[in-house]
Structure formats: C-alpha cells, structure tokens
C-alpha cells in the first residue's frame, strides 16, 4: 500500500521539481556568473567558472554599494519603527477604547488601504516638494509610514480586539497608566503581530522604487534599488559588477527569508495569527 502511495506521488514531486528549477536556475546563474572571469561569461555561457573571480564584487563595493545599503537600512528601519508605533497606538484606541466617531475612523482607514502610491504620485511629489523634503530621508520615510499605516492598523486591530478586557483592568487596578499598560502588557503579548507587520513593511520598503525614483536624485542618499539602476548606467558593459551588486543585495534577503521563513510567510500573507 505505502509503495503504491509513493508511486502515485511521483507526478507531484516531478511537478514541484520542475517548477523549482524554473525559480532556481536564474538565481543560480546570477551567483555563478557573478564570480566568472569576464571572458568566460560570454564565451562559455553554460560552464562553471574555471577560477573564482571576485573582481565584480570588488568593483561593485568600490562603486559605493555600502552607501546604498546604509541608506536603505536607515530608511527601512525608521519607517518600520514609526509605522509600528503610530499604527499600534491608533489600533489600540480603535480596538480597546470607546469614543465618538470610532466606526467612521476605522472605515476611513480601511478605505485608505485601496489607494496606491501610483494613483496620487504627482500631488504626493508636490507635497514633498512643498515641505522641502526632496533628497532627504524624511521625504521617503513619511510617505512610507503613511502607506504602511492602513495595513498595520488592520493587522493590529484584528489582534487587539481579542485581548480580554480583564487583563487591562487588572493592570489599571495596579496603578498602571494607559501607556504603561501598552508597553508592559500589550507589546509583549503582540509580538506575532508586530513581527508580521514589521516583515511585510520591511520587505515592501526595502524594495520600493517608484517614490524613491522621484524623491531622491542625490547619489549620496540613494537606496539599494536606485543604486542598482545607477550601477547599470555606470557599468554598462561590466556585467560581473552588475551581477555582483544584484547578488550582494539580494542574497541577504534570501538568507533572512530562509532563517525566518515562518514569520515571513505569515507576514507576506498579511495575516496576524
């Protein structure tokens, strides 16, 4: 019987193996080609490198890759941090407190979910110009937080609404302030939701391109996606340098994904539990 089941499962494995090959082949080529000596890249497209040539990585590094990575880290970390803080406070008020206009505010925030950055790009750019935020980190951070809030608030709301009121009451009787309750009771219990929001927003912001393209033109402030495009322009025929810069900025994301895949899958699916 078990042999029969195994036999029956071969098509399933073959299908998944074939599909995985489609995903993995371009990624493997990326890594292999990035360490190939330049001549072999074109003359022997299918062969493994005869020697490992790390020159591409060196040229990418000298081209300012670290600066782009640092900018992305600063922008992503600040945006995610602010989104968690501001979204968490708002969701807590909506889920745990009673006040006039609660339903209205909640509906408005859900509706905001439907608005894409592309749909309001020009006036958003005008707004950023008006506050003199072009070519500043805040020119990216403030809009990123805004566009992350509807997601963060809906995820946190769904999480907070299930919190037992008794828990908060007990802490209040102990003389805890509302902020104290948030920090000492709510935050430690909300780690799964916080991880989901942080990962989802983190991936989005790390990879965001369109807004960065219109807000940042100063090379010193470019994020990784803008930096990669700049590399394409600067290293037109130096494929190994371009491939190295793609792999050096992509592989950390893949390693993070494999290491935290449970949290990633939850976060990417946009679910809170």
């Amino acid at each position: 019987m078990s042999v029969l089941i195994r036999f029956k499962r071969y098509p399933a494995y073959l299908f998944l193996l074939a599909y995985s090959a489609i995903i993995l082949l371009p990624l493997s080529w990326l890594v292999i080609a990035s360490v190939k000596p330049k001549r072999e890249l074109f003359t022997k497209p299918f062969s493994l490198p005869s020697t490992l040539d790390w020159g591409g990585y060196q040229r990418a590094w000298n081209g300012g890759l670290l600066k782009y990575i640092a900018n992305s880290v600063i922008v992503t970390a600040s945006s995610v941090g602010l989104t968690l803080l501001i979204g968490g406070l708002a969701a807590y008020a909506l889920a745990q407190m009673k006040f006039v206009g609660r339903r209205l505010v909640y509906s408005a925030i859900i509706a905001a979910y439907a608005i894409p950055l592309h749909g309001i790009l020009v006036p958003l750019y005008d707004t950023i110009v008006k506050y003199q935020l072009t070519n500043t980190y805040f020119g990216l951070i403030l809009p990123y937080v805004t566009f992350g809030l509807p997601f963060a608030i809906t995820v946190f709301y769904a999480f907070f609404i299930d919190f037992p009121v008794e828990l908060m009451e007990a802490s209040r009787l102990d003389g805890c302030s509302e902020l104290g309750i948030l920090w000492r009771v709510v935050v430690p219990l909300s780690m799964p939701a916080i991880a989901s929001v942080a990962i989802f927003q983190g991936v989005q912001i790390w990879n965001e391109f369109l807004l960065a393209l219109v807000v940042i033109s100063d090379d010193a402030l470019k994020t990784v996606p803008l930096g990669l495009v700049a590399f394409r322009g600067n290293y037109v025929s130096d494929w190994t340098a371009i491939l190295s810069s793609i792999s050096v900025t992509s592989i950390p994301m893949l390693i993070l994904f494999v290491a935290f895949q449970k949290q990633f899958m939850r976060g990417l699916a946009g679910s809170e539990k």
Binding site: R9, A12, Y13, F15, L16, Y19, S20, I23, P26, L27, W29, A33, P45, F46, I86, G87, L89, A90, A93, Q96, M97, K98, F99, R102, V105, I109, I115, P116, H118, G119, I120, L121, V122, P123, L124, Y125, D126, T127, P143, T146, L149, E178, V203, N207, F209, L210, V214, V224, P225, V229, I242, T249, S250, L254, L256, V258, Q261, F264, M265, L268
Partner: protein, 295 residues
C-alpha cells in the same frame, strides 16, 4: 458584555492615540488624493506654479492619445493574463504543496517557490535583462543550443512580444504570492472532508475539484482581486526592462504617469491618468465584492 473599555475622564486619550496616524494619512494620502482629482482638470508643469483650468480636456485628449491607448490595452492584457496564468498555476502549486508531498518536502519546496517574493523587482528585472540580452544573454544561448533562433529584434526589443516577456518575468517572481495565499486557505480545510471524499472513492484530482476548490472560493476571490490590482499598478518591471519602449509599445498606466509628469512636465495630464487608474482599481474592488456576494 462590551469588549470596549470606557472611562469618563479618558475621553481625550483615544483621540490622542489616533492623532499621529490621522495626521500622516491626511497630509500624505487624503490631501494628495483630493489634489489628484481636482488638478486632473488643470494644466500645469513641474516648475511654474501657474494653474490653467482646462475642464475635461485632459480626459478628452487621453481618449485620443495613442500612448494612453497602448497603456490601457497593456494594463488590460496584464490583468487578464495575470488571472489566467498566475491563479491556476499558483493554486495547483498550493494544492500539491498542501496534500501531494510529505510535510518536510512541502516546506522545502515552499521556501524555493516563495523566495523570489522577498527580492526587489529592480534586482529581478536587472537579472532578467542580462539573461535576455539579445547578443550574449543566456536565453539566446539556450535557444541557439537547441537549434532554434532567438527573436531577431531581441526578447525585449520586439514591440509585438516585449509586453508578454515582461509579464512572464513578473509571473516568475509573483506566482509564489498566489501560492502563499492559496496554501494558507487550503491548510484551513478540515482533514475529515478529504477522508470522507476518499471513502467515496475520490482520487486526488477529484478531491481537489470537489473538496478543495469549493472550500477556498473566498480565498480565490481575494487572491484574484489582489493579483488584478497588482497587475494594474505595474511600474518597476516595465521601467527596468524596457522603459516603456520600444516605441512606447510596453507603456502601462504607471509608466505613462511617470513619463508625462516627470519627463514631459504635463502634471495635470498625468493626474488624469492617475484618476482613471484609481477608478479602475475601485471598480475592480466593487466587481469582486458583488461577485463574492452572489456566490
């Protein structure tokens, strides 16, 4: 019992907690949204602050603009093919991952299939651009190795096929998203339903068709909606791979907004494209809501 906590002297606190979020949403979303709609009836450029009221002439011009016709056609193609390719393939992958293989194998394959989701579109686009290089790219080498000819104008240089090549690359990266959402839906189906089906003599394909699919109908609708909205918003793939070319053949609404506003300086005109894009997004949402109520 009400879940909501209420204390008389604390009426200010909820508003205090909400204020930062509402300020952000007002400044960087609600205000630009209003401006987009209002200023789509004006003509103005990047530098001068002069606004000329032109009524609906931006919209009239759009209807006759060949670039917009191409952008709209490409957006519709993108939406249709996203649903026809990504949804079935992504769902079948999810079903096989859910019940076709051991749970260890499933986890390994899921890791592989979902991994492109964490990469930036810019990185993926640049990678494929090199693979598809007409002269020395890997794709042409593969095609030649099996005795065929690569397209003479290049994979991304032929206006007839370029948009489909872009789609294929987008699907390569994002089919995993459909699989991710559908897998989550399939995992919630109770095992007893499959046992009952097996007792009735159902094989894996029959079970998929009569047990799995009906149970994940809502997940399918939500996933389709997200896929369609994603297809309408495409920008990065086109910008990186073709920049909208050759000869504007791969323009989509978002690249057209960018080009009109930031290259041609026609901000009002770009706003009109934005408004139509927003309306299409909202329209899709309504169709999906109605569809899910009827089923």
């Amino acid at each position: 019992m009400s879940r909501v906590y209420f204390r008389r002297n604390n009426q200010v606190l909820p508003y205090l907690f909400l204020t930062p979020a509402l300020v952000f949403l007002a400044l960087f979303m609600a205000y630009p949204l209003t401006e987009t709609v209002v200023k789509s009836f004006y003509a103005y450029d990047l530098t001068s602050r002069v606004l000329n009221l032109v009524g609906i002439s931006n919209y009239i011009e759009l209807v006759h603009d060949p670039m917009f016709q191409t952008a709209a056609k490409n957006a519709i193609l993108f939406v249709i093919f996203s649903v026809l390719v990504q949804i079935p393939l992504g769902t079948v992958l999810a079903a096989v991952l859910d019940r076709g293989v051991t749970s260890n194998a499933s986890l390994t394959f899921r890791t592989i299939i979902f991994s492109p989701l964490v990469l930036s579109i810019v990185a993926v686009g640049l990678l494929w651009q090199l693979i598809l290089d007409p002269l020395v790219g890997l794709a042409s080498a593969v095609v030649k190795a099996v005795g065929l000819h690569p397209p003479p104008l290049g994979w991304l240089g032929d206006p007839k096929i370029a948009i489909y090549v872009i789609m294929a690359i987008a699907f390569w990266q994002y089919i995993g998203f459909v699989t991710l959402l559908m897998f989550a839906g399939l995992q919630r189906i109770p095992e007893e339903l499959y046992q009952a089906a097996t007792l009735d003599g159902a094989g894996p394909i029959t079970s998929f068709w009569y047990v799995s699919l009906p149970m994940v109908q809502n997940a399918l609708i939500v996933t389709s909606l997200l896929t369609m909205i994603g297809a309408l918003r495409v920008f990065d793939f086109v910008y990186i791979l073709t920049g909208g070319g050759p000869a504007n053949a791969t323009q989509v609404p978002a690249t057209m907004i960018y080009k009109e506003a930031f290259f041609l300086g026609r901000m009002g005109y770009a706003n009109a494209v934005s408004v139509l894009l927003l309306l299409a997004t909202v329209g899709l949402g309504f169709v999906q809501i109605r569809f899910s109520r009827h089923s």
